[in-house]
Structures are given as structure tokens and as C-alpha cells.
């Protein structure tokens, strides 16, 4: 692991990557099943501004996949005609010691309105339902 930043915001590409990581509501997370099938799903996520992404999940096949194979990718939707392509790869792990979703200020700042509005849940009820914390250590970014 080098000391340099993964996302270099001094470049126009890096600045765009950072903007997606900060502001996009969802990202495509792809895990790999034990049979070797790539399994994309749409998730909410919180970026720490450096190399880590935190998400909260139910206990799903995606969580089971990560326990067997930590290699995952994240991609933003792109512009639909071949541009604004951003793909990150990383190593995911379930973190039983992570705080609950309703105890992570950055997560609540990003999603509080959607939890209370669209989902009509209290932060506590959301945290109880999406109780599996997944930390993704970003290792690479590519795109254009």
C-alpha cells in the first residue's frame, strides 16, 4: 500500500471520481458468488474521503459472497453513451465491530432524509434492518 491518495482530486478525472463518491446516492457493488458468477447490486454507501467505503446491508447473498471472496468492484452508472466511466476495485470485509448505521454521523447526514422520507423508517429501525456493516478498502480506480 502506497501513501499516495487513491483518488487524486488535482486531476479532472480524480475530481469527478471524488464527486461521485461523495454525492452519488447509489453505487453498483459487484461481488462474486462461489460458482464464479459476478453479482451486481445497487447499494447506499459512505466514502471516508480516502480509501474506505462503508455500507450497511441485510444478511444477503452479497454478504455471503464477501465472506468467501472479498474482491469486489464499485461502479457508477456512467453517462449512458460510453463516457463518465468510473470503476473502483477493493477488498470487502464484514465488520461486526462497526458502529450501527444510526451512529455514523456521515452516513446519517447523507441518508437521513431518505431513511425518514422514502423508507419511512426511524434511523434506529433502519440500522436494525440493515445491520451488517461492510467495509471496502479501495485498491484501484480506473475509467475516463
Amino acid at each position: 500500500m502506497t501513501g499516495g491518495p487513491l483518488v487524486d482530486e488535482t486531476t479532472s478525472f480524480g475530481a469527478r471520481v471524488a464527486r461521485h463518491l461523495r454525492d452519488d446516492v447509489v453505487v453498483w457493488l459487484t461481488t462474486v458468488s462461489p460458482s464464479g458468477t459476478p453479482t451486481p447490486s445497487v447499494v447506499w454507501f459512505h466514502w471516508d474521503g480516502d480509501r474506505e467505503v462503508l455500507m450497511f446491508s441485510r444478511r444477503t447473498s452479497r454478504v455471503a459472497n464477501i465472506a468467501r471472496n472479498p474482491r469486489v468492484s464499485l461502479n457508477f452508472p456512467s453517462d449512458g453513451v460510453g463516457g463518465d466511466v468510473v470503476v473502483l476495485t477493493g477488498e470487502a470485509r464484514i465488520d461486526p465491530a462497526a458502529p450501527r448505521a444510526d451512529e455514523v454521523p456521515g452516513y446519517l447526514a447523507k441518508y437521513g432524509a431518505r431513511i425518514g422520507g422514502g423508507l419511512d423508517l426511524t434511523p434506529g429501525a433502519f440500522a436494525a434492518r440493515y445491520h451488517v456493516a461492510v467495509r471496502i478498502e479501495l485498491t484501484r480506480v480506473r475509467g475516463h
Partner: protein, 143 residues
């Protein structure tokens, strides 16, 4: 393999998926590397209206991945808020006997303008993206 369609256009979800398969310019195509890393990339593609998707590629990591592990996923963009999710899984294979891209009328009908935007003739495009990949769709999920 059953005879029932992967995409059932008589349902609202199936009709939406079919519209994406017909009209979307790009799809996220994910292969898995030998180390088990998922590798999404954006590709042009042609759906046959049933269970097959055809795409053309350069020789790349993606084509090498397919040779080692045929299992792939196709995903459309989504609505950026968590809706309009459609993910297809399938088995990909390199088809050396497929016609080149410029000899597939439906492919040209869909991409001729985009090829021109690359400042390429259809023949030049076909020579550069010469690896034909056929994907047999096996599953669909989403909402």
C-alpha cells in the same frame, strides 16, 4: 433450459428490460478475473430479442477472463436513486466463426452513427473490434 422466455414482455418489468435491451446504447458487462476480481466495463451490444446478446471487443482482459470463466453479468444504468434495476446473468463465449461487426445488419443499424462518431468506417471498426462474444442469457433479476 426451458422454453419460457428470460424476458417476459407481458409484465411491466419485462417490458422495461426489453426496452433497455433494445434501445440502450451501452450496458455494464462484468467478467471475473482468474483471481476472482469482478471487472465491469461498458460495452456496445446487440440483443437478438430472445436469449442471446452479441458484442464485439478488442483482445483484452475481458476476453481473456471469458476464456477462463464464462459466467458474466449485464447491468443497465438504473435511475441513480436505486430504482429501474435490471441485471442479467449469462454464459459468454468467444465465437471465431461469427461474422464481423460490419456484416451484421442489426448491429450496424444500431451503431452506424456511433461508429462514424469514432471517425471510423464500419470495416475499420470491425477490424479493430474483431473478437465476437456471444452471451447466452440465463437469468434476470431486478424490479
Amino acid at each position: 433450459m426451458t422454453d419460457s422466455p428470460i424476458v417476459d414482455e407481458s409484465t411491466p418489468f419485462g417490458a422495461r428490460v426489453a426496452a433497455h435491451l433494445r434501445d440502450d446504447v451501452v450496458v455494464w458487462f462484468t467478467t471475473v478475473s482468474p483471481s476472482g476480481t469482478p471487472m465491469p466495463s461498458v460495452v456496445w451490444f446487440l440483443w437478438d430479442g430472445d436469449r442471446e446478446v452479441l458484442m464485439y471487443s478488442k483482445e483484452s482482459t475481458r476476453t481473456r477472463n471469458i476464456a477462463a470463466n464464462a459466467r458474466v453479468a449485464l447491468g443497465f444504468l438504473g435511475d441513480r436513486l436505486g430504482g429501474d434495476v435490471a441485471v442479467l446473468t449469462g454464459e459468454a463465449r468467444i465465437d471465431p466463426s461469427a461474422p464481423p461487426a460490419h456484416e451484421v445488419p442489426a448491429y450496424l443499424a444500431k451503431y452506424a452513427e456511433h461508429v462514424a462518431d469514432l471517425s471510423m468506417s464500419p470495416e475499420q471498426f470491425a477490424a479493430e473490434y474483431h473478437v465476437a462474444v456471444r452471451i447466452t442469457l440465463t437469468g434476470l433479476r431486478g424490479f
